[in-house]
Point group: C2
Chain length 202, copies 2
Amino acid sequence: MSYLGVGVSPGNVPVYHGSNLKVVDRRVRLVELVLRCLICGLAVLAAVLIGSDTQVKTIFGVQKRAKFTDMKALVFLVVANGLAAAYSLVQGLRCVVSMVRGSVLFSKPLAWAIFSCDQLMTYLTLAAVAAAAQSAVYAKLGQPELQWMKICNMYGKFCNQVGEGIASALIVSLSMVVLSGISAFSLFRLYGENKGKNSARW
Amino acid sequence: MSYLGVGVSPGNVPVYHGSNLKVVDRRVRLVELVLRCLICGLAVLAAVLIGSDTQVKTIFGVQKRAKFTDMKALVFLVVANGLAAAYSLVQGLRCVVSMVRGSVLFSKPLAWAIFSCDQLMTYLTLAAVAAAAQSAVYAKLGQPELQWMKICNMYGKFCNQVGEGIASALIVSLSMVVLSGISAFSLFRLYGENKGKNSARW
């Protein structure tokens, strides 16, 4: 590969460094691809579970319908998971292309872009899960001090489905945490300056 | 420094690499120290603002007192910011010690520990802010579909102080985001394998 010789005389770069790098890179890329597919699937599942959730109850002769738009936190969760699914699809395709080509990520601007987007999506999905989980706690337990009443004893089926959606979204955000670790690794190893010691130790 | 020669013949490691590394490391350490101090101060401020917040109202002859424990999300925020403050204090001291000694972070287990703790604290503070912000939105605007009423028109002063606390906690979590980027850099650059090209380009 051309990058191995730039600015360093050939004798300073043993061949195993290059193949070692490629093996690590291939494994990292594979884990990344699996995670991106998982995120894409689970984010769609979470968005569909919550977005399609509805329950009709007749209370004192009046029909009331519970839907996810009644709670802004759930709208935020659906939007965040929709974005995460679309983003993971695009990134998954990038992974497949670079695996097929066998290329190693060595462009700093691209690594920075992937790192920044991964970080952003991680914080976005995590914040959405936290807000939705907090709302779910209020819906399940109420907050008697503020006279916010429980609604899950009225809309049991609705609440259960929301719970499944939040669980799915939680796995999405935990996978995003791992992924942003991977993209941090892919970016910042490009700034390494102590090749000799570390390749000997790990 | 002893790490510069291990596994590489002396001719392969120009002196500017070592000093370059130390300059970068000193700057990174300085930014880290400033951020850790900022976080420590603002996290204490957020915890005090929210923890000490209280307002008494007489409604139909009955005295009612609003306090932060009425809302579980605020308790979570106070705890998360207390932890962030204590953690930043310890890490800040570590920064000062290593700046005084002039040592460069080169222990992978230590770098992994710092990275993991920073990540954990970042996600913890961010989740706490998201949950508290969601609760604040309900308190400010209510959620008429669920018959959760606004409480901020009753407890205006209480809500304002909570708002200031959440703003302070938001800056804490954004600073933690930058810090976890820095600790990712400090860790993963230890895995760099392409010294020649990158030190020539950046």
